[in-house]
């Protein structure tokens, strides 16, 4: 199974800034291995962010997003103690969901 994400969510005024690091190879599909064969693309394709269980944002990615991806966004009306969860799904259908409490 994929390694856990690191989610930092900090309340700031009337919103919370969310910073996420995800553990993923994000293989571009352009690279060749030692034997000269193309390494197939393998990347996170969909992101879903929820605030206290309600979906607030979705995002779609291609293989150009860097390895071990970083994502930052702000949730309106979120305050300390609220929960933020992030779910990703990659192009092989693997998925991971992690949750953090806003500080």
């Amino acid at each position: 199974m994929a390694d856990p994400m690191r989610i930092r969510a900090q309340a700031s005024g009337d919103k919370a800034i969310v910073r996420v690091l995800m553990s993923h190879e994000m293989e571009s599909g352009q690279r060749k291995d030692a034997a000269g064969k193309i390494v197939p693309a393998w990347f996170i394709q969909e992101i879903t962010a929820s605030h206290n269980g309600k979906v607030v944002m979705t995002s779609e990615w291609g293989p150009a997003v860097s390895k071990n991806p970083f994502l930052q966004f702000s949730v309106k009306g979120a305050k300390a103690g609220d929960k933020v969860s992030i779910k990703w799904v990659d192009n092989r259908g693997a998925t991971r969901t992690d949750e953090a409490t806003i500080s």
Partner: protein, 266 residues
């Protein structure tokens, strides 16, 4: 590829005045580095390392929580800035990574030789790097203060100094060829002077670090390994005495430098 990219990319930066362009390029690179500081993927390895430390693993199905990294069993905070140091139970001076191997052997029953032979970034070797990242992060901001009270620690410093200045390989390079003078650079890459602080604070005190260029987490052992590769030296064994001695020399030279590990590097 690399060689082809540099002139093309930089020729575009160049414009009419090379002096001005160069200043702009290095300022631009500083800005770029600053943008990456927030959100260092080393965090991922740190989290993984903490998890691994506490997990029951290995043939003996034990955690590493009783491991003594130099300040007593289970003490993590502050150990990174005091390593390498002499350990009475092994009768050796050890760095963080070689000490982790010792604990994985004694507490968990892993074979340290087998781990030392594993390539960087795979299997238990990747786990050692992750744990080193977590242990280092727990001392972030603390100042390097290596012991030189044991005779072996002093001998290792002296040997490390000789290794630092040892010329060899096809190119006659020593560590000092690149890191022996202040204000030098390779291509556009600044080279820290590693014989004293603050240069050594940027060099030694920054590893483990996340390497942006290849998306890998590197411990000090891998940093030294790749330096030796580029020096055209033969292959230094993982956790070998020579690598530990060199770390003692660099670590003592970094006396007083605040640890910035785990850092993010090119």
């Amino acid at each position: 590829m690399r060689q082809a990219l540099i002139p093309v990319a930089l020729a575009m930066v160049l414009g009419a005045s090379p002096v001005l362009a160069q200043k702009t390029a290095s300022q631009g690179i500083d800005e770029y580095r600053a943008m990456l500081q927030d959100g260092n993927p080393a965090d991922l390895f740190e989290a993984k390392g903490e998890d691994l430390w506490k997990q029951k693993r290995g043939p003996k199905n034990a955690s590493l929580e009783a491991c003594d990294l130099g300040q007593g069993p289970g003490v993590i905070k502050g150990v990174f800035v005091s390593l390498p140091k002499y350990f009475a139970d092994t009768g050796k001076v050890q760095d963080l990574e070689s000490r982790l191997l010792t604990c994985m052997q004694t507490l968990q029953g892993f074979d340290p030789q087998a781990i030392a032979k594993t390539s960087f970034g795979s299997g238990e070797m990747a786990n050692v790097t992750a744990m080193a990242t977590w242990v280092a992060a727990e001392s972030k901001g603390m100042k390097f203060n290596l012991s030189q009270s044991h005779a072996q620690e002093r001998v290792m410093y002296e040997v490390g100094k000789r290794l630092f200045f040892m010329r060899g390989g096809t190119h006659d390079f020593s560590c000092a060829s690149c890191h022996g003078e202040e204000g030098k650079r390779i291509r556009l890459q600044d080279l820290p002077l590693l014989t004293k602080n603050p240069g050594d604070g940027i060099g030694f005190a920054a590893w483990p670090a996340y390497r942006v260029s290849n998306g890998q987490m590197w411990g000090m052992q891998q940093r030294l390994n790749d330096c030796y590769r580029q020096q055209r030296f033969p292959f230094p064994g993982f956790a070998s005495d020579a690598t530990v001695a060199l770390s003692v020399y660099l670590g003592v030279n970094a006396q007083g430098a605040a640890s910035i590990a785990p850092a993010i590097k090119r």
